[in-house]
Amino acid sequence: MKRPIAMFVSFFVCAVLLAGCWSKKELTDLAVVIAVGLDKTKDGRYLASFQVVNPGNVAGALQRGGGAGGVPVSIYTSTGDTLVEASRKASKKLSRILYYAHTNLVVISEEVARQGLNGVFDAMERSHQFRTTARLVIAHGHSAKEVLSVLTPIDKISANQIIKTLEFSEMSWGQTINTDVWWAIRGLTSSGRNTVVTGVVIEGNPQQGKRQTNVQSSVPDARISLDGLALFKKDRLVRWVNGSTERGVLWVLDRIKQTNITIPWKGKKEAIAYRTMGVKTGLKVKLKNGQPSILVHIQTEGDISETYVPINLADYRLLFQLEKAIGRDIEREVKQAIETAQHEKTDVFGFGEAVHRADPLLWKRIKKEWDDRYFPHLRVTVKVDASIRRTGLRNTPYIK
């Protein structure tokens, strides 16, 4: 009994004396990187920007009065042929170790995306610190560095602002997609699916956005806003889509939770607004003579949220007509999206994967040429079942 204890004790003593603590890193020695931005320099190397939290100036730092003056984040940049090189080089400018476990956002500039993402994610996937649940956005119109530099008023850390916007706008508007690095990698590795990523733009003057004054005004000089959807083909960005086309993509991807559709009624163009509450999209593959075709079946449920025309919504037969009209509207959006994608020869919908599941042997034969030969001519049927469940607190509007 005495011996094991003695051995344990001696072991600990030795261990402490000999080595200390290897993987230990004190919080005060870490620079918590909350977002990474990727640009290309003129000579084709990566320009990496790291948004580092300045803990003393964020909420929770009320004690010892750190907050008032400073900015909550700082941007460090460095260049390198590889991401890891750039990251290591940044340590020349930084008094702390860059720490990636809390990197929740990756911003990639349009330029990099157009030249190809291959290789960008490997380091992120391989590193034990970096988490692939980090969100991915493409900087549209400005460089990633500029996007990360803008200071934001409500969520002090701009990366958090972007992440939360992504999340809530996907939930309530349905024209953005919350893509994380994991999804992007999946899109890159799968032969039957390509990636879509939401774009982020700066509204206003990015030069002003860097300053603390930006957050001291009720109308900031520069704001970050989500806009557009980048369609990728393999690892390259090929096309931006906006508005209803953008939503069409998300309908097929089954990523819409809530959104608003306005349909014309009795000659008035934007007459009745329909709010979806639950959407379910299914893909069915039909094979005819070895030629696959796809049936996209969308079921939505929702309420009437606004009307601009007099209509008696208590009449359920009228509701059926409305449902049909809504269905047509959605169908139009989806068709538009599919046509765009087929035009760009990129299957962002995962139709290929569906074919793979339905007929693995056929897929084996056609997967090499799927995007370029089969997908653009794929017959896609869209079927929408929209249903109106409730009409809110009123049945007929006051408009007469």
Binding site: F11, A15, A19, S23, H128, T189, S190, H356, P360
Partner: protein, 367 residues
């Protein structure tokens, strides 16, 4: 020899913990792609057959471990040789699993720490448990079994709740027919973890009711097989077959995908608990079997004195066996399977059983 006894329930628990061991965390049967869960279940079915061979042998010699009854079956000189071979095998696998375990920790949490240091801590604990004996290990198992079950259920619920499970990723089932699956079974899943049940031939004599050994062991193996199949199926459904096969630790990746209510995320410590407990039991049981085997074969009355020298041996072996992770894995998948698992888990036990059965039938008077 130790005179302690374990009961049937404890045997069951030990088997479950042992079988889960490292199998839970490593990419098991990934060459079958999205059909890996089928490969695991088939491995289980064949493993059960193999286990019946071991159980039959135990049935013939209910109060002796494997290393003792081989001498009865094949005679003294050859028997001793085989016994030593098995003991070496047990120590080697103990060292291998210890290495696996150290590598895992090193890769995902302690990249700057020397492998040796991590292994020392584990090896000390293993030695302590071996010193205390099988009874204490079994009781510890009973406590930790409950803990692991709770963790598993909670983890499962969280994975489901984060909405990352996409069952379509398990399709198409049997994309390339049965061939790929069977190949995986015969190259991977049969031996690890099911064939490793051979080590329990060293522990059966401690059972207080030997007649129930079969029921407990089969129940343990089936439960493990189903659990592992579920784990790998969930991994596949969350990550996709491609990512699972590229990942060093699919379970870790799955756990990292958990995000519930902006709060229950970053649960890597779950993984670490499962990893450490599983690894601990696997190393402990192999190590204990080895130590008891030495005590038996070389006639030591007390196995406790052997714990430290052999513990040090296993520790050093674990560090020295390969120079990098993939060399280690390559050895594990190719060399060990071909030259160690197949002969020691299948060929020799089957031969032993045949000889023993023949002796039983025709030579009972010779005894």
């Amino acid at each position: 020899m130790e005179h302690s006894k374990i009961n049937v329930r404890q045997l069951f628990v030990l088997i479950v913990l042992f079988e889960h061991g490292s199998a839970m965390v490593i990419p098991l049967g990934v060459s079958a792609k999205q059909d890996m869960w089928i490969a695991i279940l088939l491995g289980l079915a064949l493993g059960l057959l193999l286990f019946l061979v071991y159980e039959r042998l135990f049935h013939y010699y209910p109060d002796q471990p494997l290393t003792s009854y081989v001498t009865h079956i094949v005679g003294k000189p050859l028997g001793k040789l085989l016994a030593v071979l098995y003991i070496t095998y047990f120590f080697y696998i103990a060292a291998r699993v210890l290495r696996d375990f150290g590598e895992l920790l090193l890769t995902f949490a302690y990249p700057e720490t020397p492998l040796f240091v991590l292994n020392v801590l584990m090896a000390m604990t293993v030695m302590y448990s071996a010193y205390k004996g099988i009874e204490v290990l079994a009781r510890t198992g009973e406590l930790l079994y409950t803990l692991l079950q709770i963790l598993a259920v909670v983890g499962f619920i969280l994975v489901i709740a984060s909405g990352v499970v996409d069952l379509t990723q398990l399709q198409p089932v049997l994309e390339e027919g049965w061939k790929r699956v069977w190949k995986t079974v015969f190259t991977e899943t049969l031996y690890v973890p099911f064939g490793e049940m051979i080590v329990f031939t060293m522990l059966f004599p401690y059972l207080n009711r030997p007649e129930k050994a079969r029921r407990a062991a089969v129940a343990g193996m089936v439960l493990t097989g189903i659990n592992l199949a579920i784990i790998m199926a969930v991994n596949t459904a969350v990550l996709g077959a491609d990512a699972v096969s590229r990942s060093s630790f699919p379970l870790l990746d799955t756990i990292r995908r958990i995000q519930v209510a902006h709060f229950l995320e970053r649960l890597d410590v779950f993984f670490m608990v499962a990893l450490v407990i599983g690894g601990f039991f696997k190393v402990s049981i192999f190590f204990y079997a080895g130590v008891v085997g030495v005590a038996h074969v070389f006639g030591f009355s007390n196995h406790q004195r052997l714990v430290y020298p052999f513990g040090a041996l296993v520790l050093l072996w674990s560090v020295a066996m390969a120079s990098n992770y993939w060399e280690h894995i390559h050895e594990g998948l190719k060399i060990v399977t071909l030259y160690l698992h197949i002969p020691l888990q299948i060929i020799i036990p089957v031969l032993l059983l045949v000889i023993a059965a023949i002796r039983r039938r025709f030579g009972s008077s010779a005894k």
